[in-house]
């Protein structure tokens, strides 16, 4: 049942939430929009196209301490980091919410990552449906939609003088402000997006592993980590210990398959040495291995990698190229 909240209702409601829990919301930073914990409501940017980084950083931060080691009189004790505070993640678009749902699959799969699970359970997702699409968006081709409520606890859809409020889960209902009137007006139609033909891509991927196409695309790739770090569904990480703050800490940080040495073994052997092999791993993990393991494509069509790749390696173009190569192969 859709409710209605005016702009002021929303501000008041978020203000009350801010009193008792962390509120992570899109904030304008140096001309960009980033998800950050806020200290006052005024910091929230309500009108933004897309954030630079995805909200996955709240559940899998760029850097975090997994546990620290306390040594008292020789006895060693490992103190895990705990996620002790309830939180609200406000303003994420449906594609990012699906990104989080996709990362849930490996991280909650037994043996689940307890810290990640704790953060997920303590955080309520308040989504913001998209009123217009950007040229790089292609969520509808990736199993999501501008108004897809399925991965958020509450979905807001902006209308003239306020927001349609749709409580999707019990967790969301529990957080709703009291006394919101029912919304009887028209639900705005979501924006149309151009579609990317993805159905055949998985079978094409199986065939084209050793195709020279990957070396061609790999030629211009710089092998930086931009595409992986802005991506809502990339979750690879690295772990190392630190002793510089007076105690031993095991730190987990973002890592990307494009980094040098990502698959380098201690003996010095590296299964991926050429540029094409390394770039190929990004697309195979997203479009073949993850789907085979978790029955869903690890791309939500948010378009961030398309927007930020310095040399325009565009996953939509790669997907359509694969099908052209397949047709050429089967046709000829």
């Amino acid at each position: 049942m859709n409710l209605f909240a005016s702009r002021d209702d929303l501000i008041r409601w978020l203000g009350s939430l801010l009193q008792e829990r962390i509120v992570v919301a899109p904030v304008r930073v140096q001309g960009q929009t980033m998800f950050q914990p806020i200290s006052q409501i005024e910091e929230i940017a309500f009108d933004f196209d897309n954030t630079t980084l995805s909200p996955k950083g709240w559940f899998l931060p760029p850097t975090e301490t997994l546990f620290s080691l306390q040594r008292d009189d020789g006895q060693v004790e490992l103190v895990p980091t705990l996620a002790e505070q309830d939180a609200v993640l406000f303003g994420l678009h449906p594609c990012d919410a699906k990104g989080i749902a996709l990362i849930d699959k490996p991280f909650l799969q037994d043996p689940g990552d307890a810290l990640y699970r704790e953060r997920r359970s303590r955080t309520t997702l308040i989504g913001l449906a998209c009123r217009q699409a950007l040229p790089e968006c292609f969520c509808t081709s990736m199993g999501s939609a501008p108004d897809d409520p399925s991965n958020v606890d509450i979905l807001l859809t902006e209308v003239e003088d306020g927001y349609i409020v749709q409580a999707v889960t019990e967790k969301g209902k529990a957080l709703l402000p009291k006394g919101l009137a029912e919304y009887k007006g028209k639900v705005p139609t979501p924006p149309k997006l151009l579609t990317v033909p993805t159905k055949e891509v998985i079978s094409a991927m199986r065939e084209l592993f050793n195709d020279p196409y990957w070396e061609q695309v790999g030629d211009r790739c710089l092998h930086c980590n931009i595409c992986a770090y802005v991506c809502p569904t990339c979750y690879c990480f690295d772990m190392r210990d630190y002793t510089d703050k007076g105690k031993v800490e095991r730190v987990r940080s973002w890592e990307s398959c494009q980094s040098p040495g990502f698959s380098l073994t201690a003996g010095g052997y590296d299964p991926r040495t050429t540029k094409g092999e390394r770039l190929r791993q990004r697309f195979y993990h997203k479009l073949l291995y993850f789907p085979e393991q978790f029955q869903d494509v690890a791309c939500v069509g948010c378009g961030r990698c398309v927007r930020d790749c310095p040399v325009n390696i565009d996953i939509r173009e790669v997907i359509s190229n694969l099908q052209q190569v397949m047709e050429a192969k089967s046709g000829s």
């Binding site: 799969q109 043996p111 690295d238 990502f262």
Partner: protein
Amino acid sequence: MGPESPFIPYLATLKTATQLTPDIKLLSVELEDPDVRASFDYKPGQFALLSAFGEGEAPFGIVSLPRQKDGLEFAVRRIGTVTRALQELEPGETLGVRGPFGNYFPLEDYMGKNIIIIGGGIGMAPLRPVINRILERRDDYGDLVIINGARTPQDLVFQPEFPTWMEAPRTRLELTVDKGDEQWKGRVALVPDVVKELALSPDNAIAIICGPPIMIRFTLTGLRNLGFKDNQIVTTLEAKMKCGLGKCARCNIGENYVCQDGPVFTLEQISQFLEQP
């Protein structure tokens, strides 16, 4: 992150550290918590992630046999920051153990078969528990041929156990080095050449190989030439690993996560990998 977080290692104490070769030490480790010690059950081929607190974690094959009285054993070759820190631990110091991870050598399926064990350098480590398990139940298995190669004589791993291996019934230990020295009386040859020279029969036989990729590649051709089929050749893959939990995707080779689907694979399985390791 409650205690059951898979990223928190079990605490363990180093009991003994014996120098096997100039750069390899055998660490014998005991899990501190008795309940964990009791429940830590594993099979030959599985591995654990050892934590040298202050440096980090790295995967090591468990080279002891389960229920062995003196705890878990790992052969650690000094090759980087974590291995250096592990080798510098003094007995009584604390380290971390996470695991057991991965699959294992299906030794029950090999019962009654002739077993050929081919190890190169530190590659011998994950094969040691296989040998000792076969010697423990010698009659369940056919002939056992062990080919252990290394760069130089002192690089041969597990030398203290060579006598037991040699004297075991229906068992042959063939040692070889790339480069001998004055005292060395034995064979000086590359492992693949030894395989060719021994002309081992593939009938009712399983070959288990572990070692540097270059050695594996040439040994495989040798075995194939002798008539070994791909499902008769087993290896344990060395891949970059970080979490051991199928999450960090470091060991994602082709559609497999070596830390969960492996590290033990038959050559037949590997040849179907989309991405060759």
